[in-house]
Subunit: 124 residues, 2 copies
């Protein structure tokens, strides 16, 4: 590496591989007990904001906009740690749940409320 | 529901929403301690095989083929449970790690071996 460092890609962006829509996958776990709260997506800007502010910020594919988790509901998520996978296209975040601690828009703590039982998905 | 049940979509396929490439996201955790081993993708056929055989089967986007995890390396994964999220496009699997218990092609247990530390991704 040499040359103008100001124009080089920032260190946090290195090793990241965004898909053809400019997204990486984010898996968010509760730091308290490791529960998987949600799976969402991030643009480079959402990732930058998350890493810089410590407030989990995703990309809403339906609204096509940045989505500071909990900005409306109060159920924000404070980042504790971030890990990147070998491919550079998936991240695992451990977070502290804030507010009512409901990550899901359906009002539950986790989005993963359907379990495969006897051949079908049963709400738990 | 009425009519010819033989042509209705099977129960395990209901609530699933595949993306424009026919994929859903699979997050695989070790059942023993909840460690996130890997994030991969599944087609409907990969999901069907996983649910029916209990052997984790993904879709390799690079090879464009079904990928019975560990078929070559011996590091297979036996499904313990499967959960589906509210959107129907992401799944969490808890598995028993078999063989050398190395989920990653880089020879580590988990694919998530880079942690964000002091502004960059450090191998742990």
């Amino acid at each position: 590496m040499s040359g103008n460092e100001k124009t080089a890609s920032p260190a946090w962006l290195q090793n990241l591989k965004f898909d053809d829509k400019g997204l990486v996958t984010a898996v968010t776990l509760a730091d308290s007990d490791g529960a998987v709260l949600m799976v969402a997506h991030m643009t480079a800007e959402a990732l930058r904001l998350t890493l810089e502010t410590g407030r989990m910020t995703y990309w809403s594919r339906s609204r096509k906009s940045l989505w500071v988790k909990g900005e409306t509901s109060g159920n924000t998520q404070r980042m504790v740690s971030a890990h990147l996978d070998c491919d550079g296209d998936s991240l695992v975040f451990r977070v502290v749940e804030q507010g009512d601690k409901k990550a899901c828009h359906e009002g539950t703590r986790s989005c993963f409320t359907r379990k495969f039982e006897k051949g079908k998905w049963e709400r738990i």
